[in-house]
């Protein structure tokens, strides 16, 4: 038997069901994520005290993270800005897409689109924020590409939305800056290098399989880039900053490689 699923922090056991989410919306909204996080942190601290694995010792982490930083540089050197990822046919698209986050799909707090805005910050000329309607009215690009998770699983997804490079040009972003930093409605943070942001297969995805993205997968807008691992594609984006300063991102702080190109 090949590829039977195993338990994972990235993938819940059950598939996504919009019905359940809608049914329990008040409850989901009532869950205080900060309390959950605080609880998880205490648990982590407890594990740290009892754990004997050498990996988390400070000097070991310093050395391993220095190698990881070196690997970031190597990856940016081997990155081919115009080399396209393979694309697939519509028949190969998996519906719905596969969920990945640092919590289970049941814990997704849908974004209320009425109050939602995409804030722009940093090295951008026109920092006017964008409503969902404005964003959805922009010309779309479609990508049928593989989503490859850091764990090793993959699926083919059909994403569409404004091309990121075109969007950055439209708002007058400094395309010579180093990073685009994203903040998300669930307090997730992620950033990508400018070369990846300008790659022809990097979009602000607003649709999946030609329908608006559903809540668990990033409604109203998420990043989809064909040249990075799954977790480098933030969902429920609330702000985008063009910057030369590197701010450690959610998974980078956890110890994952920052560049994580594929």
């Amino acid at each position: 038997m090949i590829r039977s699923p195993s338990p994972s922090i990235f993938r819940p056991r059950r598939g996504p069901s919009q019905g359940i989410l809608r049914q329990h919306k008040p409850l989901i909204e009532a869950i205080d994520r900060r309390k959950v996080l605080r609880g998880a942190l205490s648990l982590g601290a407890l594990a740290f005290l009892t754990g004997c694995d050498v990996s988390e010792e400070e000097h070991v982490q310093t050395a391993l993270r220095a190698v990881s930083d070196w690997n970031d540089k190597v990856q940016s050197v081997i990155f081919r800005p115009n080399h396209l990822a393979p694309t697939y046919s519509e028949a190969q698209v998996v519906k719905p897409p596969r969920f990945n986050a640092f919590y289970d799909i049941e814990e997704v707090k849908p974004v209320n689109v009425a109050g939602w805005k995409l804030e722009l910050a940093g090295r951008i000329e026109n920092k006017k924020s964008w409503t969902a309607a404005e964003l959805y009215a922009l010309p779309e690009q479609e990508l049928i590409v593989k989503h490859i998770c850091v764990e090793g699983w993959e699926y083919i997804g059909q994403w569409s939305g404004p091309n990121l490079r075109a969007f950055l040009e439209r708002v007058g972003a400094d395309l010579t800056a180093k990073y685009i930093f994203f903040r998300c409605a669930d307090d997730y943070t992620e950033s990508i290098d400018m070369a990846t942001a300008l790659h022809p297969q990097t979009i602000l995805a607003t649709k999946y399989a030609r329908e608006p993205i559903t809540d668990p997968f990033g409604f109203p807008v998420r990043l989809r880039t064909a040249t990075k691992l799954g977790f480098k594609n933030p969902k429920w984006i609330v702000s985008m900053e063009v910057t030369n300063e590197h701010t450690p991102t959610y998974y980078e702080k956890e110890g994952f490689n920052w560049f994580s190109g594929i």
Partner: protein, 216 residues
């Protein structure tokens, strides 16, 4: 004879010994951390590696170790291959491999008549296994690169089929290396002088690899 002695060297010259033990450490890191990464998304539903045998507290630590070990394996392996070809060690120690020698070695082994009084000469099965594991080493590095960068190195990925088949090749190479290590370590323990040789360099040999010391 004088020139032969002038060109004499130890069975395992210092660079070989250094590279051997660096490789041993690198293999330990790569296999242990690789099992950690594997456990996060298994290829075979029936196979999970015991967590106690894996390296790294969580998946990210397994990945950190793996992407540190890859530099050890890659640079050390490159140095070893360059040295092996340039110095003539591969040609001298690993060639020729003849089918009838292999059959003879297998027969000797089954009769428990396998000679190992002269450790400066590898038998045919040893030669075959060493050549085999070197080839597997090259394939595991290439398949690893294909998994690490399936888009940037998409041409390389095509060589292995697709992303999942490349993962499978990487896994099978690991299995072959683990099998080799088990046999290699077991036989070294059976003839402990081989371990001493890999530490001290062993007997002196002439430029053809023939021992200059009488077998004990």
């Amino acid at each position: 004879m004088k020139t032969d002695i002038a060109k004499a060297h130890k069975l395992h010259p210092l660079p070989v010994r250094i590279m051997h033990w660096i490789n041993a450490v690198a293999m330990f890191i790569m296999i242990g951390s690789g099992w950690k990464i594997y456990n996060d998304e298994v290829i075979f539903g029936w196979l999970h590696f015991p967590e106690a045998l894996t390296i790294g507290k969580w998946a990210q630590h397994g990945l950190q170790w793996h992407f540190f070990g890859m530099w050890l394996i890659f640079l050390n392996g490159l140095a070893y291959l360059t040295y092996g070809f340039a110095s003539g060690r591969f040609r001298r120690m690993l060639l020729p491999v003849r089918v009838r020698d292999i059959i003879a070695t297998i027969k000797d082994t089954l009769r428990l008549h396998l000679a190992h009084d002269d450790l400066t000469v590898y038998n045919a099965v040893q030669k075959l296994l060493y050549i085999g594991v070197l080839c597997v080493g090259v394939v595991i590095v290439l398949s690893g690169l294909a998994i690490w960068k399936p888009i940037q190195f998409s041409e390389l990925l095509t060589l292995f089929g697709n992303f999942q088949t490349a993962r499978l090749v990487h896994f099978l190479c690991m299995s072959a290396i683990v099998g080799f290590v088990i046999v290699h370590v077991a036989l070294a323990l059976v003839v402990p002088r081989t371990i001493v040789n890999m530490l001290t360099g062993g007997p002196r040999v002439d430029r053809h690899g023939k021992s200059l010391e009488a077998a004990p």
